[in-house]
Structures are given as C-alpha cells and as structure tokens.
Amino acid sequence: VKYVDEFRNGEIARAVAAQIASLAEPGRHYKLMEVCGGHTHTIYRHGIKDLLPDGVELVHGPGCPVCVLPMGRVDEGVAIAERPEVIFTCFGDMMRVPGSRGNLLEVKAEGADIRMVYSPLDALRIARENPDREVVFYAIGFETTAPSTALTLQRAKKEGIENFSVFCNHVTIVPPVRALLDSPDLRLDAFIGPGHVSTVIGCRPYEFMPEDYGKPCVVAGFEPLDLLQSILMLMRQLDEGRCEVENQYGRVVLWEGNLQALKSMAEVFELRPYFEWRGLGFIAQSALKLSEEYADFDAELRYSTPGVRVADPKACQCGEVLKGVLKPHECKVFGTACTPERPLGALMVSSEGACAAYYNFGRKSYERVEIGSKG
C-alpha cells in the first residue's frame, strides 16, 4: 500500500536502528518523549522499543485527547446526554471513558439517545434530520480534530441550523508540553513532535523547546520508519550538539501548517483562560471554547454546565503515566483492576492511550523482561 509499505520495511528499520545505536554514547541515558498517543501506539504495535539500544528510553507524553480529559468534563457530558430532548453524539473513543457516575455507554443502555459518529459533520446531518430534537456534539481533540469542529460550526451557521450545539473540549498541545518542561519531576533530552497536530499548526510553535529549554524536537510521522528516522534525527542533534526543530514528516507537514484550517479555527474558537488536564492540573490558555460569534452553538451556555471538579479514583495513576513519570505497567492497577474491557482510567480506554497500547502490544515483552530479571 502506497505511503504504508515503504515505511514498514524491516531491513531498513534494522539499518536505522543500528545507526541510532552507533550514536548512543556508552553509559549515557537518553530520554525522548513521544508527545502524541498515536506515536505510542506505533511504538508498541511495531516493537520499535525492542529495536532501540538500552540507553535510549521512550517516554509517553500527554498527547491523547481522550486521556487528558478530566472526570468532571466526562460527568458534564453525561449530564447533557441524559436530557430527554437531546440526541448526544460523540466519537467512539468517548463512549467508555469513565466518569464518576458511569460512562456514556452505560447511560445509553439506560435509555439516553447517544449516537457514535465518525465526524462532527455526521452530527450536523442528524440535526438536519431531527429538527424537533436538540443535537449536541461532544467535541474532543487537539488541533488535529479542532478544524473539523470549526468547519462543522461554520456550515451550521451558514445553514441557520438552530438545534445543533457543541460541548467543546478541544485542547492545544504547546501549553502542556511547556508545563512538562517546567516540571521538576521529569528530565527529558528531546521530543518527538506530533505529526498530525503539526499538519495544522506547523512546526514554528515548537521553537520554544530549543530556544527556551535547550531541547531538540523532530516532528514525526506515524509509520515505524518515520519514528525510527525521527529518533535518529534527534540522536544526531544530540551527538552534534545541535538543538533545533526539524520536520521528518515532510510529506504531510508544512513548516507554516495549514493556514486555511488555522483561519477557520480562529473564527470559531477562542482560548479559555485556563483548563483542567487529567494529571497535569489547570494549565493557562491550554484549551478552546466557542468564540462570541458562535456562542449560540455553545452547549455549555445552552445547558448551563456547572464546571464541577471531580477527583480521579485513588487507585488510578493515569496522571503519573500522562506526565511520563510512571510507565503504564508501573501503575498499581494496570492489567488487574484496570483492563481495556473494564477500564478504570482513560488511558486504558482509547486506542491512543499509553496503557491500552502497552496492554495490547507491549505487555508480553515487559513480562519476559521481568521474569528474566528475577531469574
């Protein structure tokens, strides 16, 4: 398959891995953070971790939009979905994310009209087809997904559709990365930048990493060779003492991003003063809400959501995993009380969640290492 097979060539992968190994200084520990949950998925699914030398460690970042949503926002979505006049629409990932009173799938089983959609445009179509009902779209995601919500709202406004609104939970990638760099918990050497977010925002927003923190960043694609090449590019920067933003994903990402998408987002959204992130707390200007021009479509205003804070279950250590402080298997409930079938935390729900990726693709490798180390 074009754009897939050529980026999964095992022979080339081993050659690139050998180059990475040749650049790793003996005794030095390199800690690279893959910001995006999609990268975490690729790393475990394709066994990238097993190709790297012992001294090169990959740390998961906060780039899974389902995973970073705090429990209070899940509860507010559930409360809107329970309203009898509402058809509540969301991506499939959101259905099993636990709130304090259950998840959307359970509420649907109790009779709420909740429908999974592939696109916010599908939600808008449902609104057109049901003029006597209120249709709400549960918008989540980083800058990758925000343009589709923006475009949908622009179409809704143009068509004058009044029974459609959006519960906006879009977040932005730069503020949490900056928060991680300011955190004393974590020492990182470099970043693998998110490919699809960068399709929209470009590479320039990451320049603060080398300029303010002295950390290299390489924007990466999502196939195994994309990731290996990105790691090699980071290792070369570290080896040569360079520190800059580079773009490995040039077949999709333009340095300046997608200006049409950014314009659309600028019309529909504005930055929230602050937003709560699971595990990271409140981060200033890290999320989007609907602009005044689109306030009529804002479900938070339409349904007066209270903005309640709800603490995560005590046993769940999603926050530490999101910050890269803990590996998924180091969480107390990983694979026991928390599994993809019965998740306690959001990281076990989404396919981009570090815990789900680790459970589905990395667990056997981890168990083998553990047994060997004990023996």
Binding site: H196, G250, N258
Partner: protein, 53 residues
C-alpha cells in the same frame, strides 16, 4: 480523491473504503490527490515530494 462535488470529495482509503470528505480546508483539490483526513474533514494534502527520496 475519486471525485469532487462542491466542497466535498468522494475519497477511497488504502483498504478500499469510500467516504465523503469535506475539503474546504485544503482547497484547491483535484481528483487523484491524496489527502490526510481527520473526523471526515481533510486537514492536509499528502505531497509526492518524499516519493523521490
């Protein structure tokens, strides 16, 4: 991209699945081009620049 109608395109993915994709954010688009789509909306054009590399 298989065909275009207004701001929407009929697209086919690598597995042969077809879907209607909104293309306002990447216009101009022509049949035969490859798009990066997310949530039913195209957010990027896949360039052939790297095919040669």
């Amino acid at each position: 991209v298989i065909s275009l109608k207004g701001h929407d395109a009929l697209c086919e993915d690598a597995a042969g699945n077809r879907a209607e994709i909104a293309v306002e954010l990447v216009e101009p688009v022509e049949a035969g081009e490859v798009l990066l789509t997310h949530g039913g909306v195209a957010i990027g054009l896949v360039s052939s620049r790297e095919e040669d590399s």
